[in-house]
């Protein structure tokens, strides 16, 4: 087994996967171009935004997946709703205000989850579910209040639930670039700490790293990525964009650095592919297409990644059987024991 595992180079496989994603994207671009998609200004903006958003969520999703906090993203993205609506009530339609409101709401939800799990016996999953439901319900209450108002200015506020990529403008893309660069910078600065936190939080705590601060910092970065994605993918689907690229990248490598880079590449692929595909037909929603593209990458990775993938495992098991030649014993060679006359005397 060890020999078979050793036959591939993990880093080379990851490079191959990244290259494959780029080639697949070029192929999709060509096919879309051939089937009559016009790359007008809107579509270019959305594609750009989708790619950058996917990059950021891919990078952060790696940590969430490895720390088994995949569904934290789900809870935090639903929890953003009341913040969006309150910001709207107080400040009107300004996008920056809505995003700040979303971030504050998600951060309070994060604090509540952590308080609930620390002071009671309620487990992480239930705490996330409770918070998700309570914050979202509060958001819906506020939303129904706003929708009852006679002014029509609130139209489109519910787009945050499902996302509306077509509304993306160039300044939004610039915002994604800015926040995304900041997020990547922080990840690079705290690389060692985040790595330790991910793989051995007890060891980190014992060595005097401020584990709770790092935990909050990492979760806050996830909140930032979610808030950026609300407009594109909506609160319900954000979690898929966070998790899928990371799960796919995990299959190709054993190294955190390679995984984070690859996950970012897969995320960018899913984001831009979803946007390009949505250009095929007016009725195709961008957010869901991004999720489908990301899940397609997961499927390919789970099947074909060397070393871990299902196809690889099946093939190497078969090769092993052939090498041993006795499939019925599962590779265990019976050993004949010879007893000599003076044994046991």
């Amino acid at each position: 087994m060890a020999i078979l595992r050793g036959r591939f180079n993990s880093e080379r496989a990851a490079w191959g996967a990244g290259l494959g994603a780029v080639l697949a994207f070029i192929l999709i671009l060509t096919v879309a171009g051939a089937s009559g998609v016009t790359f007008d200004h809107t579509l270019r903006t959305v594609t750009m935004g989708g790619a950058l958003l996917g990059l950021v969520t891919g990078v952060l999703g790696s940590f969430a997946v490895l720390r088994r906090q995949s569904l934290l993203g789900d809870a935090l993205s639903h929890a953003a709703l009341p913040g969006v609506v309150i910001a709207f009530i107080v400040q009107g339609r300004a996008l920056s205000a809505l995003l700040i409101g979303a971030a504050i709401a998600s951060l309070t939800a994060m604090a509540f989850i952590s308080a609930l799990t620390r002071t009671t016996k309620i487990k992480q999953d239930a705490a996330q579910g409770i918070t998700l439901a309570a914050w979202f319900a509060f958001g819906l209450i506020l939303l129904s209040y706003v929708q009852g108002r006679p002014d029509a200015g609130q139209a489109g506020l519910d787009k945050f639930i499902f996302g509306q990529a077509a509304a993306l403008v160039q300044s939004d893309v610039l915002l994604i670039v800015g926040v995304g660069a900041l997020v990547c910078l922080i990840v690079a600065l705290f690389w060692k700490e985040f790595k330790l936190l991910t793989f051995d939080p007890e060891f980190a705590a014992a060595n005097g790293f401020p584990v709770r601060f790092l935990d909050s910092l990492l979760s806050s970065l996830i909140v930032a990525a979610i808030v950026l994605g609300l407009q594109l993918a909506g609160v319900i689907l954000m979690v898929g964009l966070l998790i899928a690229p990371a799960v796919a990248a995990r299959q190709w490598t054993q190294s955190l650095g390679v995984m984070v880079l690859l996950s970012g590449a897969f995320g960018a692929f899913a984001g831009s592919t979803g946007a390009v595909l949505s250009g095929v037909d007016v009725n195709m929603p961008t957010g869901p297409l991004m999720i489908v593209a990301a899940c397609a990458v997961v499927l390919v990775s789970v099947l074909f990644a060397p070393g871990r993938g299902i196809v690889w495992t099946v093939m190497s098991r078969r090769r092993e059987r052939q090498a041993v030649g006795r499939p019925s014993l599962g590779g265990v060679q019976p050993v004949m024991v010879k007893r000599s006359a003076d044994d046991g005397q």
């Binding site: 009530i89 487990k123 689907l237 998790i243 195709m284 993938g309």
Partner: protein
């Protein structure tokens, strides 16, 4: 099935009482909310204990896929009239829920993806596919944001089905019946363009109201003397009532098995109880319940009805049976008080319209201060309020109880340190240094006031007394120190 439910209900109430109750929006919304909450709490308790709470979230999202696919098959495949309450839709939705569970477990079983990530992959994918299908093929379907997120519990009372109890025979009116309205009409006047008075006109007897009538129609048209006794049941209440009954039966009959499979799956398997089968039965019921609740409270809020009341109950008790009861109770209570909150009345304490009025003065709401908000979201909010109350005030696990416990532990620990110190030095040569009242606090590196409080307490408890400026144990104190060892 509805006949059974109605005859059951008629043992306690008269038909008029039921009709009066069921035509009131408030009571119907409360009833439907409470039924969703009770069936949610019954199943949610087990999900909570198995740490599978978020599976509900996944299922409630993906039933949308089942509904959309069945809808498309019905309309495009068979050309049927689209009907959102068709049992086929419910079956398809429940199947999609089960599919989610199975997909998640298949992903998990490859060993390549952890449980939480598997869930986080499966339901966004299925949800995304259903959104794509809706926007691509079924734009006219009534599956807008509201039906996914909020539900329509407020108008559940308006969508009813009648159940007939007495005088239900359908009435057939023939031309010979006394009620028949027979008129002579000219058969060939129009065709031959002649006047009815002309001699060639042919007349026939035509019965204008002949035909078959149901009892209700016949009574409404004055064709029948007997008043049929009808009970009008809101469809949502009927569906949720049946689902609640099934859940009650499931938990009631399989209580022991569920308990064992939840707390010790290995033992359950060893005893031949098939925990795997039980697991899928539970998941199937969760799917069916989520589908039933979908119309009333929306896909996303369903999760609250499953998780929040059991979590509240969990803070208050350690016993499974009590947890089930309390969960159902808090769920129903949340539904009841939630309706009031939607209309602006928070537990009879706060008038939300006034809060809005006050907020209008502070941040400016544009003068719109009418609080009339989503009913299902308000119900969830009240359940959450009860959870918060339980979190703070629970007798054992609550924040206040925890604070008191830590405080009393600290006090007991302080007392023991002082008593032990006195016992160690009493009667020894250094006692004038170690036990002097004025300097005792320095030996513990405490503040003088902390020691003062402790000494006052110990003296009040008659554990120490002060002699010549030295602290000494009383007889009671000596016994107390002995009992520490």
């Amino acid at each position: 099935m509805d006949q059974v439910l109605v005859s059951l209900a008629l043992n306690f109430f008269s038909a008029d009482q039921i009709n009066a109750f069921m035509s009131d929006p408030r009571s119907v919304a409360t009833l439907v909310g409470a039924l969703v909450a009770i069936s949610g709490a019954l199943l949610g308790t087990f999900l909570f204990l198995r740490q599978m709470s978020l599976t509900t979230d996944a299922i409630s999202h993906t039933i949308l896929l089942g509904i959309v696919v069945m809808f498309l098959v019905m309309t495009a495949g068979f050309g049927l009239e689209p009907d959102m309450s068709s049992p086929l839709l419910i079956l398809g939705a429940a199947a999609a829920g089960l599919l989610t569970v199975m997909l998640t477990e298949t992903i998990q079983r490859t060993g390549l993806v952890k449980a939480d990530a598997a869930l986080g992959l499966a339901f966004p994918l299925l949800f995304a596919i259903s959104i794509i299908l809706v926007s691509r093929y079924a734009d006219n379907v009534h599956l807008d944001v509201d039906s996914v997120t909020v539900g329509e519990i407020g108008i559940a009372w308006a969508n009813t089905r009648s159940v007939c109890l007495e005088g239900c025979e359908s009435v057939i009116i023939t031309p010979d019946s006394p009620q028949a309205e027979v008129a002579r009409v000219c058969a060939n006047c129009v065709a031959e363009n002649i006047s009815p008075r002309s001699p060639s006109a042919v007349f026939v007897e035509n019965c204008s109201n002949c035909g078959t009538y149901t009892a209700a129609q016949a009574y409404a048209n004055g064709l029948s003397e007997t008043t049929p006794t009808l009970v009008f049941l809101p469809k949502a209440a009927l569906t949720m009532g049946i689902i609640t009954l099934i859940n009650l039966l499931f938990v009631g009959l399989l209580y022991k098995e569920l308990k064992l499979a939840t707390f010790d799956a290995a033992l359950a398997r060893a005893l031949g109880l098939r925990p795997g089968l039980l697991h899928y039965a539970l998941m199937a019921l969760v799917s069916v319940t989520a589908v039933g609740a979908f119309d009333a409270v929306g896909a996303i809020l369903v999760v609250a009805f499953f998780i929040v009341p059991p979590a509240t109950a969990y803070l208050l008790t350690q016993r499974l049976s009590r947890m089930l009861l309390l969960g159902a109770l808090f769920g129903a209570l949340g539904a009841y008080t939630g309706y009031d909150l939607a209309r602006g009345n928070l537990l009879g304490l706060v008038d939300m319209n006034r809060v809005l009025g006050w907020l209008d003065g502070v941040v400016g709401l544009g003068g719109y201060t009418t609080w009339n908000v989503s009913i299902s979201a308000s119900m969830v909010m009240m359940m959450f309020v009860f959870l918060l109350l339980a979190w703070v005030f629970a007798p054992r696990q609550g924040l206040i109880a925890g604070m008191i416990r830590r405080r009393s532990q600290a006090v007991r620990f302080t007392d023991q340190i002082v008593l032990r110190h006195v016992a160690n030095h009493q009667g020894h040569a250094d006692e004038s240094i170690e036990l002097a009242v004025n300097t005792l606090h320095e030996h513990f590196r405490w503040s003088a006031s902390r020691l003062g409080w402790t000494l006052r307490r110990l003296r009040a408890l008659n554990l120490v007394h002060i002699e010549d400026g030295l602290v000494r144990l009383t007889e009671r104190g000596t016994n107390a120190v002995m009992s520490l060892d």
